[in-house]
Each structure stands twice: as structure tokens, then as C-alpha cells.
């Protein structure tokens, strides 16, 4: 059995304008089966992936945003969103989906998966990662 590594998925692009957001989610979901120490980072335009209320009917693309809500079920519960990226885009945490996970160590208590963090805090987290996947 390999040692557990710290895997970081960095998302910096908005959804739908390019495929990176969706295809990175596909990696994240498959990767969940490998029991590594996973963190997701949403930076720059990547924050738009988590904005609630996507309505893609008019652009005829699949709205994959419900998938983010399922991440908690895959034990992906460390989701960092950069505060500066939100603010630069006129967004706050209230614009984002409320993503949660259930902590089995605390009687399945529901907890928030999203942490809005400063650039410094995000940089520190990034610096500790073993494997960084950029899309």
C-alpha cells in the first residue's frame, strides 16, 4: 500500500467557456477512489465554478454544477476558495453553492466543505502539497 499523498486540484477557469472545469471534476471524482489526501482550490475565474444558479439551457451545454454538491459524499471536503479572487469579481461566499459533508467521527454532523481563505493562507496550503494537478 502506497503512502497517502497530498493531492491538490487547482481550478482557475470559469465553467462553460472552456472544458477544463468539467474535465477537472472528472479527474477529481475518479481520484476520490484512491484514498489520497485531497484538497481543491478555486482561484481566479475558477470561483465561478462554484457559483450557484447556473442555467445553461440557452447555451445548450450540460449543467454539471450539481456535481459539486456530491463531492462531500466522495470524502472531498477540503475546498479552498481564494477571498481575493471572489472580491475581484464582485462575489461573496453567499454567491456560492453551500457545499457540505457529513463527519462520521462526529455522529454524521453536517459541516461546511468550503473555506474562503486569504492568499497567504492559500499559498501556505499549496506549498505543502505533494502532487498538484492544474487544468
Amino acid at each position: 500500500m502506497s503512502d497517502v499523498k497530498k493531492f491538490l486540484y487547482v481550478n482557475r477557469r470559469a465553467p462553460y467557456g472552456t472544458i477544463y472545469a468539467w474535465e477537472s471534476l472528472e479527474v477529481i471524482l475518479i481520484g476520490a477512489a484512491f484514498d489520497q489526501d485531497v484538497t481543491l482550490a478555486f482561484v481566479d475565474d475558477g470561483v465561478f465554478q462554484l457559483v450557484k444558479g447556473h442555467d445553461t439551457a440557452g447555451i445548450e451545454m450540460k449543467n454539471f454544477s450539481p456535481t459539486y454538491a456530491a463531492l462531500g459524499d466522495y470524502d472531498i471536503n477540503k475546498i479552498y476558495v481564494e477571498k481575493e479572487s471572489l472580491e475581484a469579481r464582485g462575489l461573496t461566499i453567499d454567491d456560492l453553492q453551500h457545499l457540505v459533508w457529513e463527519d462520521e467521527d462526529e455522529d454524521w454532523a453536517e459541516k461546511d466543505s468550503i473555506k474562503v481563505v486569504s492568499s497567504a493562507e492559500l499559498a501556505e496550503m499549496m506549498g505543502q502539497q505533494d502532487v498538484v494537478l492544474s487544468f
Partner: protein, 101 residues
């Protein structure tokens, strides 16, 4: 742990360099490759930001990409140029790699 960051896009095309500078820790290394080497040019609008970063981080530029773009001789003093062998060496000498694409 020290991380090697690579930036391959021009700072005039995308915000990848800006984000890399903002989100890399003191002591990290930054390697400019492909169009990213444009940020290594002395006198470019990004010079000040790069020189500021150089106070706490080591900045490198991939020589083959500098040459390809005809700006050999214009690289900021203090940015170390490495070739592909040097790139490979940087990867092995750092604990991890983050690519700012």
C-alpha cells in the same frame, strides 16, 4: 518543503504569472517557460513585479524559449537561465511542482 512553480503564459495574455506570484511562498522557485519568458524581459511592464518577487524567490527562465523569441540579452539581471537539463534538475531538486497554465 520547497515548490517549483512554472509559468508558461505571457503576463500580457493571462493572469497566470500574477496568480503565481501572489500564491507562491517565500523561498519557492519560479521557472518561466514558453511565452512565460516574456515576463523575464528587462523594462517590460512586469519588470517591477518580477524584481519584487526576486527578493524572496528564485526566478529562472528557460533558455531555449528565451532564444526562440529573440530576446536573449534582454533578460533581467539576476534571473538565471537554465536549459532543459536544468529544468529537469530543478524538478528533482524541489519537493513538488505546480504549473500555472
Amino acid at each position: 518543503m520547497t515548490m517549483l512553480h512554472t509559468v508558461n503564459k505571457s503576463p500580457f495574455e493571462k493572469d497566470s504569472l500574477t496568480s503565481c506570484l501572489r500564491l507562491s511562498e517565500d523561498g519557492a522557485s519560479i521557472l518561466l517557460i514558453e511565452d512565460g519568458i516574456i515576463a523575464a524581459i528587462e523594462g517590460a511592464a512586469t519588470s517591477d513585479a518580477i524584481k519584487e518577487a526576486m527578493k524572496t524567490k528564485k526566478v529562472y527562465a528557460l533558455q531555449e524559449d528565451v532564444n526562440a523569441r529573440g530576446v536573449q540579452g534582454k533578460v533581467i539581471d539576476g534571473i538565471e537561465q537554465v536549459d532543459y537539463a536544468g529544468f529537469v534538475k530543478l524538478v528533482t531538486e524541489h519537493d513538488s511542482v505546480q504549473s500555472w497554465v
